[in-house]
Symmetry: C2
Subunit: 555 residues, 2 copies
């Protein structure tokens, strides 16, 4: 549960058959690799024409072409973990073994998981009888792990004249040890077709006290409230996988599930194991995680096809709502916020108040009304940053919010000097009654700060900071055009334009932009949360426009 | 930006070659399908041994086996959109056409995108010369869209003795119309290899006023603050894709990017188009989204291999941190919170105070100290729910929080009655000084409520609600064992045990559990946000334990 986007996903390899219906084979593997943040490569040993009802045909790859695919991948890409699935025949199995030996003659081989696929669920032969011996004698000894199910283990053990009946947990423990003696570093014997209860498991583990039992996804002690609300009982049917390492035996216990969405379960599990090993996890941790992944994938599958449907490989991912910043789109969050509120944003930035101010035609009383109300608004704005400081969890964010307050207070003292120039005394400023538009906007900021977290408050504060910066740049751009409607020379409001287009204010805008974008990268919002951000941005844009309506209308 | 997990991802199909290195072909398609929440199926027309440096070998599938794969997929799975990529030769192209005609003889065919792959970037022939005519005359007329790049369009147009030079935007407009005359419903002519500037585009669109121009990911008006911070200018080199539909021509404009991570760009774009059509979007919307997806995938790619590396197909997804609830794990959030704080949670639930209380050996003064402090704590707890009401955004959540306050107030009046039984008057209760453990816990709840959003406050309030429920059930479970250490008969604290294990309290616990789980499903937390939740849960568990330490130690 703690994996984050790695900067470089590990490259992994599957050597297996292709399943046209996408539920098993390299298709299941590639989907699993994607869901578990690995870069997937594949060597196809055989094509199958297959769907959820069964295997309709097999077209094996020529052994030479298997070798060639192996070479293309291994000579170019640094593989961190790999698996074999369906190998089909002895020649292709040998081609895989030979290519691995060739490429890893002089360097350590990454962990190889061998899923000894022999027969499809629907009964189709996926490994020719003469290939079984090659797999056992040549491939098993190279494997970090083999992952047989009951029937595959029985087939392999019978092939070697070992005791092959696997009907219960005791049989599984014995079979797993016998399989280990065939050469792999570890064996994961899957118990999907063997019935066990928690009582069976307790009995077996009392007979074999050295066996470790991991009940993952099962409720453990001090979870009575969940037990009561879920209905698990000790006599529920369990599935036990046995992980046999050189010196350790571990049982992985999960509730058995009844589902028809099981097409490709074995492929999916071994592919997930590859990912976990590729991410550098231990075999036991990998087994636990891969088995959990597969278990959820079965339970959350949607019905596809008319037979045994595929798993839901994509359950551990959710859509990223705000795109990753890129060189050509370094500010995707703000670009999206502005795009999604385009009309209102334009009505705010290019407001008649701004146009009249920039052309020098704005009525003096409108401007005075505006700066008096702006003075009152800035008190709310400073307090909102005070609330942001209170909502911070690091000294650096407390510091940033506090410095903004100091900047606002400085701005206010300039404001007072400015007002004095226009003949407004400080007493008059203080005595000015608040316009509803001022109260609405100011109180809304504080309400957002009360209601949400610091991210939401930062969104609310941004519309003012960024909007005034936008107005400043827009006016200077317009002013630069030939015969511009913007009059800078002799404009009584020149200082206002200069302030918001000037270096100091624009530097604050840049920091604001960076803060917002960094926030969306560090804490990618869900769709719901993004909609909240957008709603706040939209409302603040509307309130900004309302503020200028108020100034023009002397409301 | 508004796509959410669909309950049933649309099934889509790629009919193309396999790329062992995973960057192009069906591998790129399947990765794209996964990233864009589609269920992928695939028909393999040819295997390639390929990596980032080039194509080392091609092994075509037998035409009969192409047909068989087509049949397996189309007879079983309800495909919503599909594409063709590398078809390799005339026979395989005909096999695809025949299978499509057979399967869609009596029902409407889902949209087919034909990516006319002819030559690899490295110069390898991926479509035999004699197959070009089959593709044009038989496949194009079935296609909802064909997606040639410059060289593919030139090859096709030359093949039909049409004017084939495509060197600028005007050429592209003409070529797209000529390609449309070959039968497909629409043409997306990709301009990745043709240089344009915004000025070129303005010039062309003034000559052809009916042509629509979509500048996606580019900064538009009222984005001066972003422009200033990104350095885009009108003379930047742009890439223009031309979408030619029957009655509409649309230019899709994006900044050109220099990158060596371009292996499989064409496959990726057409696969993304398939997904967008599969999700039911219009051709223009699909083009915009697919082109954006591909553009970001190029820019965010990690280096893989020694040649032209693959794209980052997985950029639009992030890991799901809290697993989806399943029948066998219906409460993954709370299970995880408890598992991750297991020792502290156990120390809280199975605290000596609880043990002594349940065995009837708890000192009277400890219990009295506890209920007095609990009375004081409940005032904070009720106020925290008041804060939760204030932080709510729907009447139903305001209602839920308020009803909880009423329940707490009722509990308090029982508390007073209870205290009276033990000889504590209401005045004495009120005059009791708060223990530091009480203040710490109570004030922490209100601080969480001040600092975070309602979700974080709900996490903080849950540890108390769920923990007392857990204690109640644990004690009743222990009491039910033979010769239990729990004494119910004659236990002076029996009512306390009965209250917390009783139906009313447990019903509140169930609602609490459901609320928390629903929260994580509706608003999947990022890793950062989940860590905040876990931190709050952990701290509350610690404070709960501290509360009982206080009661036992009379602190």
């Amino acid at each position: 549960m703690s994996r984050q986007d790695p900067p470089n996903p590990p490259a992994v390899l599957t050597i297996a058959g292709s399943d046209s219906s996408g539920g098993a084979g390299i298709q299941a593997d590639l989907k699993t690799f994607s869901a578990l943040q690995c870069y997937g490569t594949s060597v196809i040993t055989a094509l199958t024409a297959q769907n959820t009802t069964g295997v309709q045909g097999v077209h094996p790859s020529p052994p030479e072409f298997v070798r060639q695919q192996m070479h293309s991948v291994l000579s170019d890409i640094d593989i961190q973990a790999m698996k074999t699935g369906m190998l089909f025949d002895a020649e292709n199995t040998r081609a895989v073994v030979a290519a691995l030996k060739e490429h890893y003659a002089a360097r350590p081989m990454p962990p190889l998981i061998c899923d000894p696929v022999c027969v499809s669920t629907s009964g189709h032969t996926l490994l020719q009888p003469d290939a079984v011996e090659v797999m056992i004698s040549e491939l098993f000894p190279m494997a970090a792990l083999i992952t047989p199910n009951k029937s595959e283990a029985e087939l392999v053990l019978a092939h070697r004249q070992l005791s092959s009946k696997i009907d219960n947990l005791e049989d599984m423990l014995r079979a797993a040890k016998d399989m280990l003696s065939l050469g792999p570093k570890a064996v994961l014997l899957k118990g999907g077709h063997i019935t066990s209860t928690l009582e069976d498991i307790e009995r077996v583990s009392s007979v074999h006290p050295q066996v470790k039992v991991i009940k993952d996804g099962l409720l453990s002690e001090n979870m009575e409230i969940l037990l009561k609300n879920s209905g698990q009982t000790a006599s529920d049917v369990m599935v036990v996988d046995v992980l046999q390492e050189q010196d350790n035996t571990t049982l992985f216990v999960r509730p058995r599930i009844d589902s028809t969405s099981t097409h490709g379960t074995g492929c999916t599990l071994s592919a997930a194991l590859v990912c976990e090993l590729g991410h550098g996890n231990s075999l036991a941790d990998a087994t636990r995680a891969a088995s959990r992944y597969t278990h959820i994938a079965i339970q959350t599958a949607s019905p596809i096809g008319s037979g045994n449907g595929p798993l839901n490989h994509l359950h551990p991912i959710v859509p990223r709502i705000v795109p990753i910043p890129t060189p050509t789109d370094p500010h995707p969050l703000i670009r999206t916020l502005i795009s999604r509120t385009q009309d209102m944003w334009k009505a705010y930035v290019e407001h008649d108040f701004v146009r009249q101010l920039a052309s020098g035609t704005l009525a003096r009383e409108s401007f005075l009304h505006f700066i008096k109300q702006d003075y009152l608004y800035l008190k709310y704005y400073a307090r909102a940053y005070g609330l942001l400081a209170a909502k911070s969890s690091t000294f650096s964010s407390i510091d940033a919010a506090t410095k903004t307050i100091i900047n606002i207070v400085t701005e206010v003292s300039m404001h007072k000097a400015y007002c004095a120039q226009w003949g407004i005394t400080e007493d008059e400023l203080r005595a000015t009654p608040e316009s509803p538009a001022t109260t609405a906007y100011g109180a809304y900021l504080l309400d957002v700060g009360l209601q949400g977290d610091s991210a939401r408050l930062i969104m609310a504060l941004a519309a003012c900071l960024l909007g005034y910066g936008e107005v400043g740049l827009w006016l200077m751009k317009e002013a630069a055009k030939p015969n511009s409607w913007v009059k800078l020379d002799g404009n009584p409001y020149l200082k206002w334009i200069q302030d918001y287009s000037g270096k100091d204010y624009q530097a604050a805008v840049t920091i604001g932009i960076q803060t917002l974008e960094a926030l969306a990268v560090a804490d990618p919002p869900s769709e719901l949360r993004f909609q909240e951000w957008l709603g706040v941005w939209q409302e603040c844009t509307r309130l900004e426009k309302g503020f200028w309506d108020m100034a023009l209308g002397l409301l």
